[in-house]
Amino acid sequence: MSGYFDDPMVLREILMDHYQYPRNHELTHDETYMSRHMASDSCIDDIIVEAKINDGVIEDIRFDGVACTISTAATSIMSELLKGKQLEEAHTIIDNYHQMIDGKAYDEEMLEEAVALKGVGKQANRIKCATIGWKAIEEMIEESEGK
């Protein structure tokens, strides 16, 4: 497993695939979904992320918007990875993802395809691209937990 995720060719393929064919890339505009518009002033990305969270489970995640390869792929991968997860598990995955992005120790197995983003810190100003969609889901999880 770890050999597979160490191969730059494979990781690049994962990014390209999620960029060209982003998953869950359609908004529902359904009122039972929470929604976050993420647009940072220092970055061109401008995306909307929707989530449906019920009884401590993330039932669905959707997104759309104008975005670069990194943020599109990172958000697409996130939407697949966190869909269907219990909030507690989602928290662990999200923490793990940030550990990876920050260049700290992390659990590769848990992150699955998100491992493709492990090198993003080489271009420091792109870290925000890799985390913009993840931030949206974090905020919505917090909202659902009533924080």
Binding site: P8, C43, I44, D45, C68, I70, G119, Q123, R126, C129
Partner: protein
């Protein structure tokens, strides 16, 4: 062409690396690098002058005043204005806000029209939006032609009796087009409108004469013309400055006041310069102006034009590059690497030591006129060389989605 030996005047151009490569700085529309003489002028103030301006009656303070007012004189000469028509602000944005606040809010009424265009910098349009919110006036946008320019015939059609203010950039920061400002001023004046020129992208690059242009206000920043950050200029015709309100009150700008609330402001430009200014920046701006004059504004303009034409000729031969403004008048090239999102290609340029800007600039303009949501911008100054353009072209040729993604592995 300007001799490349002037590059030795710029510490940033002598050994600074980026991502392991010699720095190629092509983000001059954002800000410019500083020559040693400007850096020295700034540190000279802190090292040898130290005192406040307009405050003390001792020798040091007098020297500071002299240096400060000397800079005002240099600015006035640069644009052929009178010293008393030069207000020091913190930058072009502050100047533009001051016009909208001090003139717009005071004199524009409900239903009055401000003419702007879809390509304006945020700092030249948001202050007017706020003014509209407060006063009930409205902004009308001059349609641009297919290339993104204002045509004088179109401009004429946009003028009507409700138009009281025309607020436009002399040179646009995305497309690098020079607008026919003298004609615009003459036409606007025929119907009694005031013209505010955002000259942030023109004063650093060409000879400007406010009397020939006959604009009413002109705004620019020091840092885009080799000067320090934190200082900018508002030029205004004196009678307009006198009528206008300052947006700050306090020390330095009042002549006297009493407990009944009577305030007597100083005359322009001093009534606008409340509080301790960025003295070292004002002094540094003087050094920058002297430096530019020594090189010659005409030479600067010519040099940039040559670099621009040289770069465009080469870029046009690259199949993977799309240029949006091949006929720009200034040294601004707005482009994209085909099939690569601007932010992704910008990282590739970064990895090769080339500093340029990715952005959506003004979404409306770009979406409608350019058919894209984000672009890259390379902008030149007189210290850039053909060798740097060659390097830039070389990196453009290598840019593709694979190389842009390879950076992360």
């Amino acid at each position: 062409m300007i001799n490349a030996s002037i590059r030795k005047d710029f510490p940033m151009l002598n050994g600074r690396k980026m991502q392991g490569h010699d720095l190629v700085y092509l983000d001059n529309a954002a800000t410019t690098l500083k020559p040693q003489c400007v850096i020295d002028a700034v540190t000279h103030y802190y090292t040898h002058l130290g005192a406040n301006a307009h405050r003390g009656d001792y020798e040091l303070s007098f020297e500071v005043d002299t240096a400060y007012e000397g800079s005002r004189k240099a600015v006035a000469q640069l644009i052929n204005a009178d010293e008393k028509e030069i207000v020091f602000t913190s930058g072009a944005s502050a100047s533009l806000n001051l016009i909208a606040y001090g003139y717009g809010r005071k004199f524009l009424k409900e239903g009055d029209v401000i003419l702007s265009c879809e390509a304006e910098h945020a700092s030249d349009v948001l202050p007017w939006m706020k003014c509209c919110e407060e006063n009930g006036c409205v902004i009308e946008y001059i349609p641009l032609n297919d290339e993104g320019r204002i045509e004088i015939e179109t401009f004429k059609k946009c003028l009507h009796e409700k138009v009281k203010m025309v607020a436009l950039a002399h040179v646009n920061n995305v497309l690098g087009y020079e607008q026919p400002m003298a004609e615009i001023c003459a036409l606007a004046h025929q119907i009694g409108a005031i013209v505010s020129v955002d000259a942030a992208q023109s004063v650093p690059h060409m000879k400007i004469d406010v009397k020939k242009m006959d604009c009413d206000f002109l705004s620019f920043s020091g840092h885009k013309m080799c000067g320090p950050t934190g200082v900018g200029v508002l030029y205004g015709k004196y009678n307009l400055l006198q009528q206008m309100d300052p947006f700050m009150l306090g020390g330095g700008s009042n002549a006297r006041f009493d407990m009944c609330g009577n305030i007597l402001l100083k005359d322009a430009p001093y009534k606008f310069e409340t509080g301790t200014p960025a003295i070292e920046a004002v002094i540094g701006l003087h050094a920058a102006i002297d430096y530019l004059n020594q090189i010659g504004m005409e030479n600067i303009h010519q040099h940039e034009k040559e670099l621009h034409d040289y770069a465009i000729e080469k870029l046009m031969q690259l199949e993977n590059v799309h240029v949006y403004n091949p006929h720009a008048d200034g040294g601004i090239i707005t482009f994209n690497i085909k099939d690569v999102f601007a932010q992704d290609s910008a990282s590739f340029f970064n990895s090769q030591g080339i500093a340029l800007r990715a952005g959506q600039h003004c979404a409306k303009l770009l979406n409608e006129k350019l058919g894209t949501s984000a672009t890259l911008r390379a902008s030149f100054y007189f210290y850039n060389t053909k060798e740097e353009i060659d390097r830039f072209i070389e990196v453009c040729a290598q840019a593709n989605i694979e190389n842009c993604l390879n950076l992360f592995f």
